[in-house]
Symmetry: C2
Amino acid sequence: MLSVSTCSETIDIPLFCQNCPSRRTGSCAALSSDQLGRLASQSRRVHYDAGEALAADAMPIGGYGSLLHGVVKLSKVLEDGRQQLVGLQFAPDLTGRLFANESRVTAEAASDVDLCVVSRSAMEAVLRDSPDFKHRIMLQTLRELDEARDWMVTLGRKTAAEKVASFLCLIASHATPDQDKPRTSFDLPLSRADIGDFLGLTIETVSRQMSKFKADGVIGIENYRHVTVPDLARLRVQCG
Amino acid sequence: MLSVSTCSETIDIPLFCQNCPSRRTGSCAALSSDQLGRLASQSRRVHYDAGEALAADAMPIGGYGSLLHGVVKLSKVLEDGRQQLVGLQFAPDLTGRLFANESRVTAEAASDVDLCVVSRSAMEAVLRDSPDFKHRIMLQTLRELDEARDWMVTLGRKTAAEKVASFLCLIASHATPDQDKPRTSFDLPLSRADIGDFLGLTIETVSRQMSKFKADGVIGIENYRHVTVPDLARLRVQCG
DNA sequence: CGCCGGTTTGATACTAATCAAGTTAAGTGG
DNA sequence: CCACTTAACTTGATTAGTATCAAACCGGCG
């Protein structure tokens, strides 16, 4: 956690904004300028370096964050250390489990992350006072549930190659800088180890499948992290 | 769909009730008697036989149902027919995807099912008028998201034996007739094929693992569907 | 009785995990 | 600036765990 400062720029950011550039979840302008001002004044802008933990499984919930920039990974671990990523969050998602005393997942910064953080009590007050805001959060929750269920199909029923292709498609569509169409050139926000944990595969299998896609010309890889997709349709076919 | 009738018994059922016996989601009495009466008068009681579909993926949403009795399975299929169950719903869950024009999953009756169904417009009206009711639905959605994420760990990181044990534990804890503690004797609500689709395994693997647990004395099986668990702790150890 | 769906059991094949070296790129310190 | 270290990744050989294919079993029902 590097920098901490009150953020009145909250006004400009996706979740707590009046004119939100993102069209993903719709229904911005959920807060009156009064509510917005109060929330903004109670918020702090917080930076996490890649790898830092925002919240730990089964630990009390400190506060909630509007994700401004970066990628947050949500994971769970079994007693023996096996790990599974159970979600990725991008701006303008809200991080933190609402209406619970403890986190149900471990949340870590996958990349450098900027959050606008509000205390639990402040968030509860806003949710109480602004049905529109609460509605918007509910829409996010429903979308996260849809995404989790889509992912269950990938985890349960797809082959290693299909899993990796599905992951690349997911990142391509999320790496998009505000447009709605997937990008054909992007950086992976996760290491091979994280991708493995996301897909229920080992590092080696992920690496092999990526190498195979590269050899087949489905993708290009530069510097491990940067991926280019000459033909998105061709990649999509590989998703199963 | 066998019987259809207006259900004023709605008053007695979990989701739309004033004195709800279930302690799972808390916060009953979400509706004033006025709202309750209006909702009840607009509801129909509907029965589905085991195997009947309540909703199909990518089809318009007809209405919402308060699950009175039975088990509903939610699934997704890939183009080539591979199938994955992505959720199970028990009373007093609400069935149907809120705030969307289309269903995101296929919903089928796993057992005989009784629902109290309301139209989409009626549900939307109640959600609009009763913040407490909406809050309760939000809690259900958050819980479903937690459950989906727990299941992702099972799908992605557990062995076949651990998956089957986890499934048995899940059913044991849900088969409970209103108590909070898991049962030690219950009927499986799913066929081996469905269990396989739930766990991302084949029928044969499910069968083998169940036979192994039986041979090891961890469970008893009678008539394929009825399971007894002499020592729940011993089963839980197998869950990984 | 004989059929039939759901289930179990067995033999074999194949996918992905594991074990084990290498390779690459980015530091770090002399 | 270059040897050294290290972490992340790739590649190869072998093994283990499930899927697949195939056959038998069981219980219910016409």
